[in-house]
Symmetry: C2
Subunit: 359 residues, 2 copies
């Protein structure tokens, strides 16, 4: 009997990346239901799938808008007819400003900013555009990534946005650590009080992250949530309890190509397929569904080093396996197409239309 | 004054990947001279650049053939008119067999194999092809990756290849660890004696790796060398002494997009640009040429986390920098095009024609 993975490898070659559209639909529905139950708008993050086809499935299931991480992603989504786009990233530099101005000639947009220099650039891009540019202030409440570090800076930046021609202050972008709900609430309350003193209001208060789906509703005043990974899930989501193996809708199909000794072998998915993403400190680089005791412990570019000491009889040369990757978002970005399946049969391919558009 | 990096970011957007063609030519010439001096054929590995244009530059400088890691790479190179291709990888499975048979209708090819099951598949693909398939036996002399583990297996596999219709035994593929010259010599001598007993001869004895350029000529009986990374070089090559900073011909152009505090900032090159490749245990993920004391210590997909505690005054929002990545081969595979420069000026773009062709 031929397995689905063997059928995919035979039809599209190995390695390949496949998604189970039935499970994708269940994951989309579950995210929507969770947002609905918490009374929040669902603004899924498309950086995970980079596909207008999947973004449309999310909108048809009830998502109100979508989140992009780059202007390139937003351009692809808007060209495909998707609307209500938020870019959760500082757009900086003359190339971005020129593209942003062109974007605003055709479509409205919301972007985030965390610094006066960023706001000044956005104002330049939006000054004479057809559509005004909505700007949310990115706030750091513990992750130490981007975002203003204090409530006072958030209020000052909101004031600057509101005072900049072409820009509209739209609200606040949060990405709270999963264990920082109380701190984030306190930060948010302080910012909102400061905004009120300025006669400003945060129409959007946006939180993010698939692991934070467990915290939906915990922060008062939030209006929407941005989750990306949960459309597919991965080994990181398994590790943090945000998903079960059955929820994982994307597999890397790979083939055992070498078995030099009983204790070790080589998979044809290496760092150019599974990526070296450590998944926040996981053991190895992927979960082999058929033989979970096999470890992918190291990479060359097209070599996944298999430690088979726990299963020396398994995985002879030619075996085709399904691997749940550590981090699904970066794996999707390695391929131009996702093979789609339903009910255990291949149904086609979906282009990763915004692949590689990191700027 | 506008820097070259600023000019690249302004013209192509940020992040971008740029190469200095003058330095690329010097690197190509140096590899060729090293092989010539050692009396070895130069068979550069194109997995680093994935570009027929750069492969042709290597052949015009004197390279005798080229090395690919995947059939997809070989298809792109052959379609572009490049010849004498060796694939240093086991081709396994029905999809590869069918493509290999089609390839052999049009072009000759050399591939490696390390297992009877692989040789059987190659025989199936080559049985009725127009061109015979040359096969080299991959031997493991200490790296623990692919390759037969013993000299006896190498000889037995050579015998099987010679006895398989459509296949020709062509020689041996080695990738010795840099500190295993004596062990590799002993392994090679034993294999060659065994081959002689069988009436077989290794026409090709191929070694590999940029760090092994320091060992060219150390192993008697070697006929050619496969080096990839040295066309561009990277932080790994700096770390092992195979290159100086001046030899690094590829930079990631990136922009500082966030400066939440004096001690930290965010670069717009994250794991989807620089990749999470740890470069064999380097500190951080890239060397910022302008401010080497700044550390890229962590990633999100479009966020390079900057530790600026050693240089809090440096790198305000909007600064464009050049980053030497940990591992250049995987970075090239993230982008569809390389921006080319000469003498500090932009000259155009080169498509990464075999990008993503990992099978």
């Amino acid at each position: 009997m031929t397995t689905l993975a063997e059928e995919v490898a035979r039809t599209f070659g190995s390695p390949a990346v496949m998604i189970d559209l039935d499970q994708v639909e269940r994951n989309i529905a579950r995210l929507q239901a969770a947002c609905d139950a918490a009374g929040l708008s669902n603004r899924p993050h498309i950086k995970t799938h980079k596909s207008p086809i999947l973004a449309r499935m999310q909108q048809e299931a009830g998502a109100r808008g979508l989140t992009c991480q780059t202007l390139g992603e937003a351009e692809v989504m808007a060209e495909a007819g998707l609307s209500d786009i938020l870019i959760s990233y500082n757009l900086v530099g003359p190339h971005k400003r020129a593209r942003l101005a062109r974007f605003l000639e055709r479509w409205p947009l919301t972007v985030s900013a965390d610094h006066p220099a960023v706001v000044a650039g956005l104002g330049e891009a939006a000054a004479s555009a057809r559509h005004p540019l909505d700007v949310v202030v990115e706030c750091d409440t513990g992750r130490g990534r981007a975002g203003v570090a204090t409530a006072a800076e958030a209020v000052a930046l909101a004031r600057m946005i509101a005072d900049t021609p072409g820009l509209r202050f739209a609200g606040l972008l949060l990405y709270p650590p999963e264990d920082a709900m109380a701190e984030t609430q306190a930060f948010l309350d302080t910012v909102r009080a400061g905004l009120a003193e300025q006669g400003l209001e945060a129409r959007i208060v946006s939180t993010g992250g698939t692991p934070n789906l467990a915290n939906l509703g915990a922060i008062k005043g939030v209006t929407e949530h941005r989750a990306g990974t949960c459309i597919f899930n991965d080994r990181m989501m398994l590790a943090c309890g945000a998903a079960t193996l059955a929820d994982c809708a994307l597999d890397v199909v790979a083939t055992v190509v070498s078995r030099a000794t009983p204790e070790r072998g080589i998979l044809d998915a290496g760092s150019k397929t599974l990526t070296s993403d450590p998944g926040g400190g996981l053991d190895g680089y992927g979960l082999i569904r058929e033989v979970p005791q096999a470890r992918i412990h190291r990479f060359a570019e097209e070599h996944g080093f298999l430690d088979l000491s726990a299963c020396p009889e398994a995985l002879p040369v030619g075996t085709v396996v399904r691997v749940v990757p550590n981090h699904v978002c970066v794996v999707v970005n390695m391929v131009d197409r996702l093979v789609t399946t339903r009910g255990g049969r291949i149904t086609g391919e979906i282009p990763v239309a915004a692949r590689g558009l990191t700027g």
